[in-house]
Symmetry: C2
Subunit: 268 residues, 2 copies
Amino acid sequence: MSVKAVVLLLLACFIVSIYTRGNELNNLLFNGDYEFIDLTHPFDNNTVYWPNSQQFIFIKKTEDLGNDDSWYAANDFAAGEHGGTHIDAPYHFYKDGLHVEELPLDKLIVPLIVADVSSKVNGDPNFVLHKGDLDFMINDNMGKPCVIIFKFGWSKYFNDRKKYLGHVDNSDKLNFPGLSGEVAEWITSAYKNIVGIGVDVASIDPGSSKDFPVHKTTSRNGLYVIENVNFSRDIPDNGCTALVLPMKIKSGTGAPLRLVAICPKQRK
Amino acid sequence: MSVKAVVLLLLACFIVSIYTRGNELNNLLFNGDYEFIDLTHPFDNNTVYWPNSQQFIFIKKTEDLGNDDSWYAANDFAAGEHGGTHIDAPYHFYKDGLHVEELPLDKLIVPLIVADVSSKVNGDPNFVLHKGDLDFMINDNMGKPCVIIFKFGWSKYFNDRKKYLGHVDNSDKLNFPGLSGEVAEWITSAYKNIVGIGVDVASIDPGSSKDFPVHKTTSRNGLYVIENVNFSRDIPDNGCTALVLPMKIKSGTGAPLRLVAICPKQRK
């Protein structure tokens, strides 16, 4: 091979390496091996909010055909920060915690671990998850940052408000599964790499909780909380990437969330 | 090598291949070569909305130290769909177009092309982008799905409402740069792989437009539009991945958007 040919070859390799470096992620992500799974309930007038809090209100404003047959439609809406599929920022339960717009993106885009405890819950609204229930070791992404979402099997009741919350309008009578304070203490002390915890129920504390130990422990330790996750589709326990992207409300204690998992396609 | 050793080796390879397949994306994404860039303006009482439309209203509701020294804070908010960093669904300007919650995730998570025309605009609010201005060929991601965002260099005026919109409160007197109908026709006919178009101004049509040809053309062709992109940080023209994740408003004509780019870290 001549010197000229070697130089040309090296140059070609250099150009290819520059090109592929920039596109390595896009090449992998869009090669057909991955799928995007939406873990978000839609926001509408039926979306589950805490009783007595500001519900989601959708206000149809303009929907018109113009004189020239052109179409224009736009709406307004109002909501509390903490309803539907949403995030709690640490400031929600801890005065020195971060507000929602301050959460760093490298804690919001992280590997996703799904801890499916739905067979233990088995539809029982009184179920409270204790450390002893986690007889399997939590897959903790080998110590690297990750978010863990507990699947209680409750998503399917989201459109049945009474079943989902345990009571329609009295927050003193709510009844649905949740985590024990013991589990929150254990995760925040033994798994420092877990940056956020999610659940497919209306609160990370059980519906009957009056003192919210899980909210307090997670907030104090800088973890965010995701509530009302939508598990209407199957999702692998690990190997997915979580996109936890809340509305960027300045000084917000929480916000509506678009929660998406990027997962390796399951082989049929 | 014995038969037993070969079998063990094959078994080990099989296990490793299963493990790495699931984690290939996470291994690449979190290997330190990528960074997450937020292209979203925060929502607060100063966020830019169209004059006479519902502005973002932040309602501080509860912020209290309880009797046991525990903290609790939560707020409400109200907004129009089309202010701040937001997405227009095709239904905004086309009766048969998709609503915001119907936009498929594989059009919302796509390679990102940034077309930086800020040196041509040069701060001129009367600038309208024509096909002739695009003397560089649009990098169209080689025919694969992508979103293109035009950078007019307008983000830096976002907190100066008069400069950003051209007028504070009269929508008939707005004045800021935008795309021409010609460019919209060209993109939607010649680049069928472009699934959405973004701008760092308050509308994809110029501020002075009265008939909104770009909105009409993009909506009719099924493209979404992103407005008020925040380019306060530098970002490569290509090689990034766009995460275009709007609030999932059922039947929405648009929604507040969390817009993030995943980019190869720039070598210093």
